[in-house]
């Protein structure tokens, strides 16, 4: 299917929202303004774990310019139930508890109260006047510590203690598998909590309108999630909440959870005015959802001929304050690139006194691949087999069963590895001291979920397309291009808009690598619907049977009669009125994606600093709708992976304070830290999508830390088993090897 020639799919048009975004006209979350706007500020717990004994807001309320103060007591106190948070169901009490702490603060940065005032400065001053009496409690910060007997408990009602959940996946006979191996290695890994690092802090404005409707304008990955969570927390029917998504300045999973909207709505109800809350960067680090730190053990056995006979993993991920760490996807991905008969996986979801974690690009999989792919590399070395060759000997393919159950349909794991093997980068000599090259591969899913799209035909031969997926990285265009392909018109002749929750059918989050896949599919269906109707209109004009009308490349034909898309669009009035196409899907034909990284590094033996000399990202994308933005996903994911590998971490004091909660000290890669990032797009079409699309956005972050660890080994002779691999960690490894 990818061999098919398309007119629009696979080309590189300028994105539809481009002009607004290069001129500063695009309105993001914090840019929204409304008459009578008040500014909100959230007071956060200075303790990682503390009982809240008393909150006195009287002094804050007395400050000139302050209009309202709210605490958890202002939420409707209904009974607990499950709510959909965008990527799964969670108890309402956890959602509400994370919005404003009730009873206990569970992490430093946990929201405790909120103020609305006439300016941000006054609101902040007022928050400082709120008196909160805390009883500090001992805190626990890592999964292994939280699982110890006698560890401080975060939630007294969790039966299993802090280890909130335990999942197991097993296949074959793990003992027999290890018994059949010639080499068995078991290694232990730790990875630090990291943040998605989107540049736009969370921002939301809410107005509790005089007609009883709650209107929200915000930056989110899922406007319907914001609607549903806000309604649920405020005990309103969903129809009473309308969410208008503004432009979103990055998310990577971190803007799926809801932090501000229901709080702003409570403040608006008290004041009768719109209230805007914008997080500071410190709030984002301390009070939003980073992705879990983890402890992982991996044991792999292989025969001398290079076949892996058994693989076992133990994963314990830090969920943060509430259960739900994405350890399960990590467990599903950890050996997903390999065809292994005997597998046993234990996964623990562990609550700790850190912010409640959120998804981060292939959530859970990067931690897991760091562990699995460095053990795979070490085994290949022990067996004296080239690391790519070793992976090819064991690569997952169509029909391979993954330990969590599913059998793969057509996948591109082998093709990704073959591409690495042939790539000029992999075959180029790497000369000079202290330099090394590493490779790794990784897997991430692609979810379906609901998406809606409407297309209306304009008399000038263009169409307006409305959809509900907030556009983080150019998806307006990748969705519009799929419609254009069906309609036989240019991408520029489709005007895509992301609209509010009143104006389009339910659409799930921009996440799970689903937007170009699923909302693109909804656009495909809507465009098909338009074409069916247009054929009927042409048939009516020509007095022929609609079944005799064909359409190709924007030209309708029946016998010798011909009309272009534009000519027919101009005659809708005389043939029955407007044409509106509709697409609403909940697709199942998801196609996961494999990604590989090739990394060349240089390790400074005096300082431990690792420099990236050359980096190539390889990924099976099914079909690249807009190759430039596909490359952009691969490059961006790779660089986030590089930051995770080398620098980024929540550096915590023993009392649970993040000591580096600014971009100065939470050091994300800059332009100066990096070379160009090469990309190799592999296209193994997904049989489950009309254009063969696979999820593209996430898999690319999975292999970089492992590839870099493997490169460091070849450069400096040390196996790194802890993230980040920053200069002190690399020096420690080099020194301990010298001892």
């Amino acid at each position: 299917m990818s061999d098919r020639e398309y007119a629009v799919v696979g080309t590189r048009p300028v994105r539809h929202d481009g002009a607004d975004k290069v001129t500063g006209r695009a309105l993001y979350g914090a840019d929204f303004d409304a008459a009578g706007l008040l500014h909100g500020y959230i007071l956060r717990s200075p303790h990682a774990h503390a009982r809240i004994l008393r909150i006195d807001t009287s002094q804050a309320m007395a400050l000139a310019g302050v209009k309202a103060v709210v605490t958890a007591a202002d939420f409707p106190q209904g009974s607990d139930r499950m709510v959909d948070l965008g990527e799964g169901d969670v108890p309402l009490s956890y959602v509400r508890g994370n919005l404003l702490a009730s009873g206990k603060a569970l992490y430093r940065g946990h929201a405790v109260a909120a103020v609305a005032a006439v300016s941000r400065h006054i609101a902040e001053e007022a928050a400082g006047l709120i008196e909160v009496e805390y009883e500090p409690l001992p805190c626990v910060l890592t999964a292994p510590d939280a699982m110890q007997e006698g560890a401080p408990l975060l939630h007294e009602d969790l039966k299993a203690g802090n280890a909130a959940d335990h999942h197991q996946f097993a296949m074959g006979d793990i003992d027999a598998g290890f018994a059949a191996a010639d080499v068995v290695l078991e290694r232990e890994f730790r990875t630090a909590t990291v943040h998605q690092g989107y540049i736009e802090p969370h921002a939301a404005t809410a107005l509790w309108n005089n007609d009883g409707r709650v209107l929200v304008w915000c930056s989110t990955q899922g406007s319907f999630v914001v609607r549903d969570v806000t309604a649920c927390v405020l005990d309103l029917p969903v129809s009473r909440v309308k969410v208008t998504p503004l432009e979103i300045g990055g998310g990577f999973g971190g803007k799926i959870p809801v932090y501000l909207e229901p709080v702003a709505a409570l403040l608006s109800r008290k004041t009768g005015r719109p209230v805007k809350i914008v997080m500071s960067r410190k709030d984002v680090f301390e009070g939003s959802g980073p992705t879990p730190g983890s402890y992982i053990r991996v044991k792999i056995g292989a025969r001398n001929d290079g076949r892996i006979t058994a693989a076992q993993a133990y994963l314990a991920y830090e969920a943060g304050a509430y259960p739900g760490s994405m350890v399960v996807p990590g467990a599903m991905c950890i050996f997903a690139a390999y065809d292994i008969a005997n597998v046993a996986i234990d996964a623990y979801d562990v609550v700790v006194n850190k912010p409640s974690t959120a998804a981060y690009r292939a959530p859970g999989a990067t931690n897991a691949a760091f562990a699995a792919e460095t053990v795979v590399d070490e085994i290949a070395e022990k067996l004296s087999i080239d690391p790519v060759e070793f992976r090819l000997l064991n690569a997952a393919h169509e029909g391979t069963r993954r330990a969590d159950g599913p059998k793969y349909r057509r996948i591109g794991c082998v093709e990704v590895l073959e591409t690495i093997k042939r790539h000029p980068h992999y075959n180029a000599p790497l000369e000079g001291p202290n330099r090394g090259r590493g490779v790794a591969v990784g897997f991430w899913f692609n979810i379906g979920f609901a998406s809606s799209c409407n297309i209306s035909v304009n008399a000038d031969g263009t169409v307006n397309l409305v959809e509900g997926s907030t556009d983080i990285g150019g998806t307006r265009t990748s969705i519009a291009m799929q419609a254009a392909e069906v309609l036989g018109i240019a991408a520029a002749d489709v005007n895509p808009s992301v609209v509010d929750t009143d104006s389009i059918g339910y659409t799930a989050v921009t996440g799970g690598s689903r937007t170009t896949f699923a909302t693109g599919w909804a656009a495909y269906e809507a465009a098909q619907d338009v074409m069916r109707q247009l054929k009927e209109r042409a048939a009516k004009l020509w007095g022929v049977d609609a079944a005799s009308v064909t359409a190709e490349a924007g030209v309708f034909r029946s016998g010798d009669k011909v009309l272009t898309f534009g000519e027919l669009a101009a005659r809708l009035g005389e043939t029955g009125g407007p044409v509106v196409g509709r697409g609403a899907v909940n697709p199942k034909g998801v196609g996961g994606s494999f990604s590989g990284s090739i990394a060349d590094v240089e390790v400074d033996p005096e300082t431990g600093k690792v420099s990236i000399l050359r980096f190539t990202s390889v990924q099976d994308v099914g079909k690249a709708i807009h190759p430039s933005y596909v490359e952009g996903q691969m490059q961006g994911g790779s660089v986030q992976g590089i930051g995770w590998a080398l620098n980024e971490e929540y550096y915590m004091s023993p009392d649970g304070t993040m000591l580096n909660s600014s971009f100065l000290d939470y050091r994300m890669p800059t332009a100066l830290d990096l070379p160009m990032i090469d990309t190799a797009i592999v296209e193994v079409p997904n049989p489950g999508h009309p254009f063969g699309v696979r999820g593209v956005g996430e898999a690319n972050i999975v292999p970089p830390p492992a590839a870099i660890a493997n490169a460091i080994y070849r450069a400096a002779g040390v196996r790194m088993r802890r993230l980040p691999m920053n200069p002190p960690a690399v020096m420690e490894a080099i020194w301990s090897q010298r001892d």
Partner: protein
């Protein structure tokens, strides 16, 4: 509470006069008083570059400049980069090179790139990377941004 201060500036070629509180940053003045929301706040401590503007021929993080310090200054923000209805070559290059994804850092990068190319029409890749190291982008990995600046430099050279 102190009295508001009267500030006279030239912004994007137009004289602009406004009142601000002594504690308000230039970024707040641009966004909240003058409605120039193209300049973004990413960190409010000078570490992300999303609020970059050109002030008297130098790039500054407008979150680290007080509004009061802008009195008498000439300032260019993202809203002043396009040449009337024509995009500036840097803006065109960003679009053609797909050098933005979410776009929140884009105004800061374009303003910084303009300052660079105004001073050095033919910067090397290394020089571009150094100059833009004040600006964080979390989406692109910088590859296409660096290429866009290279392309813009080439476009400026070509006859318009």
């Amino acid at each position: 509470m102190h009295d508001n201060i009267r500030i006279r500036t030239t912004i994007n070629g137009e004289p602009r006069e406004f009142l601000c509180e002594p504690r308000q940053s230039l970024l707040e003045c641009l966004r909240d008083i003058l409605g120039l929301t193209g300049t973004k706040e990413g960190c409010n401590d000078g570490n992300c570059g999303a609020c970059t503007v050109i002030m008297d021929d130098r790039i500054v993080a407008s979150c680290l400049v007080l509004g009061a310090e802008a009195d008498g200054a000439t300032i260019t923000t993202i809203e002043g980069i396009a040449r009337g209805s024509q995009l500036h070559p840097i803006q065109r290059a960003f679009l053609e090179s797909a050098a933005l994804q979410c776009g929140i850092c884009t105004p800061g990068f374009i303003v910084a790139a303009k300052a660079l190319l105004d001073q050095e029409p033919h910067p090397s890749e290394e020089r571009i990377r150094l100059y833009l190291a004040n600006n964080l982008c979390r989406c692109t990995g910088y590859d296409k941004i660096v290429r866009a600046v290279q392309q813009a430099a080439a476009m400026e050279e070509a006859p318009q």
